[in-house]
């Protein structure tokens, strides 16, 4: 018998026994309605959280402002931009390149699908990342999110995200960090050292 069969056999036995003892099968728990009022204004809360997470959040009125920010801050450095704006997108063909080639990206800008006020997390799909490794390997990360995509809680986020179609996605909450040395918080463990969020 393979390990698979052996394991499944034991689990089936355990399940039968549990059902016998419990007298009926358990139904899958239904998620309750969770409180979100305590968070107050979600945009304000989200910006507060980004600050706590050692990121930087700023409201912008146009893409132009974002571009000015990047041009000023990263002149002549390798900058990657992957947002839904043909004119503004980075011309380099990098989405299908070897991920190792992204090693020297100084700044990368992505669109986020949605953001969560309670914890400052932003959801990205692999499409938005361009390359899966991009938001993790860049030295500095920028995110563009639309104000109306900011939600209160994770429960609301997964209401939208519950049926994935793509191969990879993830929440990112702030720059990379560690506290493994005497619990002193250091940003920039492996991934981005900084995160700037532009709220449009």
């Amino acid at each position: 018998m393979s390990s698979r069969e052996e394991i499944l056999g034991r689990l089936q036995l355990a399940a039968k026994e549990q059902k016998r003892q419990a007298n009926n099968a358990m139904i899958q728990p239904v998620l309750p309605e969770f409180n979100k009022e305590y968070l107050g204004d979600k945009v304000k809360k989200f910006m507060e959280l980004i600050d706590i997470l050692h990121g930087q959040a700023m409201e912008v009125s146009s893409l132009k402002e974002v571009k000015q920010y990047i041009d000023k801050k990263y002149p002549g450095q390798r900058v990657f931009i992957n947002i839904e704006d043909a004119e503004y997108n980075n011309p380099e063909e990098w989405q299908n390149s070897d991920p190792h080639d992204l090693e020297d990206i100084e700044f990368a800008l992505f669109h986020g699908t949605l953001a969560v006020a309670e914890n400052g997390a932003i959801w990205f799909t692999e499409e938005q990342m361009g390359q899966r490794v991009a938001p993790y390997i860049c030295q500095q990360m920028g995110v563009l999110i639309k104000k109306e995509t900011i939600l209160h809680t994770m429960a609301e986020a997964y209401e939208i995200l519950k049926d994935p179609t793509l191969g990879f996605g993830g929440f990112i909450a702030g720059p990379s960090k560690t506290a493994d040395i005497e619990q002193s918080l250091v940003t920039g463990a492996h991934g981005p050292r900084g995160l700037v969020v532009f709220i449009l």
Binding site: Q21, M154, G167, I181, V186
Partner: protein, 457 residues
């Protein structure tokens, strides 16, 4: 009697009082951070209840959920492997690596591979394994086991780490700045990420409904490894399954808050399909879990999401440290998991607790940890894994207490002796007396008083 024993190890580890206090305080600080995070959420207890009931459902339906997960993962183009025990797990991982002639593998935190002893196994086969979580890297360089499941190097001071990095990474001698030391590790590990032929990650949650798995880190090391390497292997204990993606809306809310007091870990990555050209494997590991689930009083231990909150609140763990538990997962949860793996070898662990119950109260999935500690004690004793001396003592005490007359007479004699010949109990044979005075024996017991003053017998 040469097997490791918590009480003896703890005695050694707590000898340095200053260091014990430092350890206690730094771990208590994490508990306080947890408190700050959870007291901000009005329906925290509701979240715990929900998380607990989803995990109960998982335990009851694990067979079906695993099959559903397997089916969906296969459809996603992920290869699924089943390992009955640690040995098979290690062989499966090695098999995958040798097929691709992997020389160097980067690994993000996985308590499961620690439990299986994977690193040593692969190193013996000539494969270089680099732990990439900073804490794990530190202890890997020092050839030490982790002392905490979330913060593996929490037992070390920055001076210790500075020494290690000076020796292995060539950092300045005596530079103890965490920022500087972290930067040195970043530079060194970036080279490893870029040159690795394979990446291995743990799994925090696997979703039956979508066939995907979620890995949570703060450093981004799981993603750096997995998105660069041509092979990604994810190893998980069977119990990491949850039915639906939307259940993450509960678990990701409780995990980091319980763990470090963060609202969420920096990275919560959902791996569903390999990227084009990449190989992705999932190894489902039993290693005693399907046996554990058959024990009604103990199966709930498998609900654990490895947040470490029970360690941070535990007054014993905070003082004795993770290494006193001589198993991969230390602390209260470790003490109810380990007896399932090896009852005899770990028969000391359920006794390494005052049964204060703080662990059960912080547990985000509401495992009745302290009650299970009590129940394991019963099993250990009944199966004959306690010392003969203890059994004789307990039986003698039980005899006295089962016989009211013997109890009264014995008590009277005992108190008289304690008063007249205090050295009979106040000596080095009495562990109590080592750092505590014995209570002063009164002339009259309560029963004596009651007879004189209330009873008309």
């Amino acid at each position: 009697m040469s097997q490791p024993n918590h009480a003896n190890l703890a005695e050694k580890l707590t000898k340095d009082t200053k260091r014990t206090d430092w350890h206690n305080n730094s771990i208590w600080w994490v508990r306080q951070n947890r408190d700050k995070a959870v007291f901000g959420i009005p329906d925290w207890e509701n979240l715990r209840n929900t998380a607990s009931s989803i995990k109960s459902y998982m335990l009851e339906n694990l067979h079906d959920l695993l099959l559903e997960f397997e089916k969906n993962a296969l459809a996603n183009g992920v290869q699924v492997h089943w390992a009955a025990d640690a040995k098979e797990h290690n062989e499966i991982v090695h098999g995958i690596l040798s097929k691709r002639a992997v020389k160097k593998m980067v690994k993000s935190k996985s308590m499961l591979t620690e439990e299986c002893g994977l690193n040593h196994y692969l190193e013996d086969q000539g494969i270089e394994v680099i732990d990439t979580d900073l804490g794990e890297r530190i202890i890997q360089l020092r050839h030490e086991p982790p002392s905490h499941i979330v913060a593996p190097a929490i037992h070390l001071k920055r001076e210790d780490i500075s020494e290690t990095f000076h020796e292995h990474l060539g950092t300045e001698k005596g530079n103890i700045d965490p920022q500087y030391l972290t930067e040195a590790a970043r530079q060194s590990l970036r080279k490893d990420f870029l040159s690795a032929d394979a990446a291995l990650t743990g799994v925090n949650f696997a979703i039956a409904d979508t066939g995907e798995f979620v890995v949570c880190t703060n450093e981004g090391n799981a993603d750096m490894g997995a998105h660069l390497a041509p092979v990604h292997i994810a190893c998980m204990g069977l119990e990491k399954i949850i039915p639906k993606r939307e259940h993450l809306g509960v678990f990701l809310r409780v995990l980091a808050r319980s763990s470090t007091g963060q609202a969420i870990t920096t990275y919560s990555s959902h791996f569903r399909k390999p990227r084009p050209g990449q190989e992705m494997h999932i190894v489902l590991v039993d290693n005693g879990r399907s046996r554990h689930i058959q024990k009604p009083k103990f199966k709930d231990a498998l609900k654990c999401i490895r947040c470490g909150a029970c360690m941070n609140t535990c007054p014993v763990y905070r003082r004795s440290g993770g290494h006193s538990y001589h198993v991969t997962v230390p602390g209260p949860i470790g003490s109810i998991l380990a007896p399932n793996a090896d009852l005899k070898k770990n028969s000391d662990l359920p006794f390494a607790s005052s049964l204060c119950g703080a662990c059960s109260n912080v547990c985000p999935v509401k495992i009745n940890i302290h009650e299970q500690l009590y129940e394991w004690r019963q099993i250990i004793t009944q199966e004959g894994h306690s010392s003969t001396g203890k059994t004789i003592g307990m039986k003698a005490m039980n005899f006295v207490l089962s016989n009211p007359k013997v109890f009264e007479l014995g008590g009277k004699m005992g108190r008289t002796l304690m008063r007249t010949v205090p050295s009979l109990v106040n000596n080095s044979m009495n562990p109590w007396y080592k750092s505590r005075e014995m209570p002063e024996p009164p002339k009259e017991s309560f029963k004596d008083w009651y007879r004189k003053n209330r009873n008309n017998e």
